[in-house]
């Protein structure tokens, strides 16, 4: 699946995540800012890779501002951003 335009999902509320996705020439570039970086940073980066792979996204820049969202919330926000960014 190709990301063809910039798209966002989520909010900056506590316990939510704000996700921005945009096209990238080659590969996945993930930037994460998280209030729980020490406790869950690596876990979240792994999760995002997994979700993008599940969605079949091979090239994208993704920027996440995490306010302590649960895994299911991050998954929902990333999937929503991907759907919006594929531009169909």
């Amino acid at each position: 699946m190709e990301i063809i335009k910039r798209a966002i999902a989520g909010t900056l509320e506590s316990s939510d995540a704000y996700v921005e996705i945009e096209p990238n020439a080659r590969g996945i570039r993930c930037e994460l800012e998280s209030v729980v970086e020490q406790q869950f940073g690596d876990n979240i980066r792994g999760l995002v890779e997994e979700i993008l792979a599940d969605c079949g996204v091979e090239n994208a820049k993704i920027h996440i501002i995490d306010r302590g969202a649960l895994e299911c919330v991050i998954r929902a926000r990333v999937e929503a951003a991907v759907m919006r960014g594929k531009g169909e």
């Binding site: 506590s14 316990s15 729980v36 690596d42 876990n43 306010r67 302590g68």
Partner: protein, 471 residues
Amino acid sequence: MKNHKVVASLEEAIRLSGLKDGMTVSFHHHLRNGDHVLNMVMEAIAQMGIHDLTVNASSLFDIHAPLLRHIENGVVTHLKTNYMSGGIGRAISAGILADPVEFRTHGGRPSDIELGRTPIDVAFIAAPTADPMGNCTGKYGKSACGSLGYAIPDAMNAQKVVVVTDNLAAYPLTDWSIPEIYVDYVVAVDAIGDPAGIVSGTTRITRDPVGLVMADRAAQVIRHSGLLKDGFSFQTGAGGASLAAAKYLRDIMLREKIHGSFGSGGITGYLVDMLNDGCFEALMDVQCFDLKAVESIRTNPRHHEISASHYASPSARSAVVDSLDVVILGATEIDTDFNVNVHTDSNGSIMGGSGGHSDTAAGAKLSMIIAPMFRARLPIITDRVKCISTPGRDIDVLVTQGGIAVNPKNQELLLRLKDAGLPVVDIHDLKEMVERTTGTPAPVREGGRVVANVIYRDGTLLDTIRSVPAK
């Protein structure tokens, strides 16, 4: 004999007090995040070129951020306090002070002052109303804050006492909290504080459904504890869920016609309502949290002002906390041994302090922690808290939205709650249940050097807090 103690300025009072390098000054925190007095006094001291001071303040709030500059400039080299909010705490955690902060409790501080362990050279009393001889009170004036309980031991034990007021009344001010016999100098200033930061207009109960579930459970635990009967005594914090618990408790007490003896602590409008509804005979008030509490302590003779020693000192012959049945307290973390952290956040940075937490927990027959299972993905229950603020031996029960964990040391309570059909779970099982939702957090990296010592109410070292690199 001079007929008043009024001096022209803070500088004059400081000069007359004989304050010198290396001495200790003290402050109280009834003006909370609206306090101007600490900043005014420390600015005057800095201008006078005095250095190497110890500041002993019952609590520090973010409005006291100018103190950080005085630390950097060597005006202040030691801090003793019972609580500091996150803005000050982050700087301390980053290591701006060479010597560790000494954290005490609201009861341990006056105890150590009275025992001579932490002598005060000059105490500064922020007084919403005072007369020219120093009789003073927090009940009246544009900066009214209600009780002056934490200032009383300072006034009684400091070498010199300076009253700072923005409402100089005619002598004699009869309804005093601190009498003239302790006061050396009186200084009139334009404003001792910003009323908006001194007391909340109203403190509100939570509307968060999770908080309401916890509050309802908390009230049910109290109801079935065996303690809720005539003569019942109670304290709660001003947090939204704790206040909601007080409201549910009030409904139960009114419905079942239970007449309690007293409510204590930092007093909010919710406890005032309980007093007026006949749930309690009296309120024992060391600090007012909102305007309704200030109004009540001014007008209702059953609403009593008490000193910090009377509230919680472990070396007093007795203190109010010793007669408490139930206290509801908060936690940033609690571990499987029921130790509670209220000093540091999830990254180990200072953002609080014991206040009366460990005093009331030690005194009350039932000490309850009320907390959500997790906050922003961070589980409330850990294997070991990052800082022990209150030892687990003093905590009886943890109430969360997912279940109630009873400390195994209190088998009677465990049986009572089980018999009542309340959702009791082992704290280890509750921890696993939470982590199934949040995931298991990776351990936070170890801090650096010791930036604070947590001193238990009896004067022994309870724990240490280590530095956290600034972001």
